[in-house]
Amino acid sequence: MGYDFDAFRQDLQAAAKALEGEDFELMNIYSNRIMSNSIFGDDRKFALPGFFLKDVSFTIGNLKARVPTSAFSTAKALASEYARRLLGQTSQSEFKEEELWQQFHGFMDRVRKFTMERIEGEVYVQPNASFTHEAFRWLISYLDKNKDTLLHPRNMLLKGILNEMNRLYRNHGAELDETYSMALITALDRCNDYVGMSSLSESDYGERTKKEVMPYVERVISVLKENTPSPENVNELLWVLIRRWRGYFIEFMEVRRAVYVPEKAIELPEETRKKLTEAITKSLERGPKLEK
């Protein structure tokens, strides 16, 4: 069984419609669906539009959240054009992965200005992709040297690297090689999140990371260490990571603690609890009045 081409087109159209309707949560869901459906077959190229649209949904969704001061409508128009072109590029089942990458990179490079803060937009006017390239190489090498940190249950290494990459990409622009790098690290991080979420203890986390994450880390470093990563290697590894990630989704469903957020609770001070308990107790003691 493979990914039926008509079903693929329907999924793509659903994501594009969600974009038009500015429903970025649904767009994200439909994008994930494209990736999930692609693993039913073995043609890796069908997963790519889902992977790209998922990022479009996040990027434009974030701009919508900042709408009082962001040029959301212009950015959304850019995204709509991207989606229309993607639909055009994939109208035949024999589409080319490399063309999809070029189109996606073009979109990301254009939309990055919209994600800048006001001051950044005023200062980082001219792109400086060579700086981004060198900094990315440094980060990949840093990952290589410090990969054992991933065994620590509270590490944020992959997210920390992505955070630096995002900032560089946003402010200085980048070439296609850097879009490859971010795609692979993002996919790796998504798998890593599932290991963190489903580990039963700190030692289990370490063991599982060694077994389930480290082999991919080695492969990602090996592909990205090249000055110009081979598109074939990037596509193959991304496909492996997407398959693993959608497999994790089948096994564990939503990631529930991938990102640290402060605990959403209010703790009453002990003194307040005591007073409240006393107050309630006293009102209970006036029991008969309750009958009125």
């Binding site: 128009a77 072109r85 209970l284």
Partner: protein, 282 residues
Amino acid sequence: MSILEIIQQIVQANPEASKTQVSEALVDYIEAELPNIVRAMKILKTPSPARLREMELKLRRTRKKAKTAFKDLTRETEQFAREMAFLRQMLDGGPSSNFMDGVLQDGQSSSLAPTMSSRDSLFPLLPIVDGTPAPDIVPEPSKLPRRIRSFSPYIVGVKEPEEHLVVRFMLDRNVESKIGSDLMFEEFLRVVEVAVRRFAQASRHTWDFRMSVTTDVEAPKWERVVLRIKPLDVDFEKSMELWDQIDAEVRKTVESAVRMHPTESERITELNRNFFIEMDLD
């Protein structure tokens, strides 16, 4: 249902429970519900600086006691509103700045893991996955829970999320196509949209914007980009005044964009010449 009625129901449903057990159960319930209560509470609106000034002028001729009472009330209301806004902000994930952590922990350095800012990401990291969007991502219990220890102190600069005053900012398909195919046009519109939205937000009026590409019957090859503006809650005279102001603001912003892109100045100037802001009088 009043709290007394709730207590009555609990007592009736648990005739064997002691009063202390009932009250403890209630405290637990109230504690668990507090975040929802805080979120649902209507925050008092604090008066604008202009309104405050007006009130001060009115109170000039009143007794000192009344003036003091007014000032106290204003201060307390403002403090309450700020603290409620702060609490809500914390409940929704909290600000990631270390300043806030410092305030919460009485100036001691924070030992918290850094929070990820999803907007700092071209490949954002918030895990919303197929099936159900997961807005309520909960932390691993062992990961240093941050709890609110106190409703105070007074936090300067915390405010409720801004109310969106732009009801619609619509671009027609022709504008979208031009954005997709023309980098400078996209940059021009980005600058214009930010300026327009900022102006709308600062004006405190609600707005409807629609942008389209139009041609003239007499000069069909001349394409004009028209932004139709409509302030929704003002009279005609005020509309005209706002029209002048928004036009001036946009032109000023475009001029500074010309200075930032000296090599593209001619192109931006040309785009500016073919860009019109019109009042929607329908």
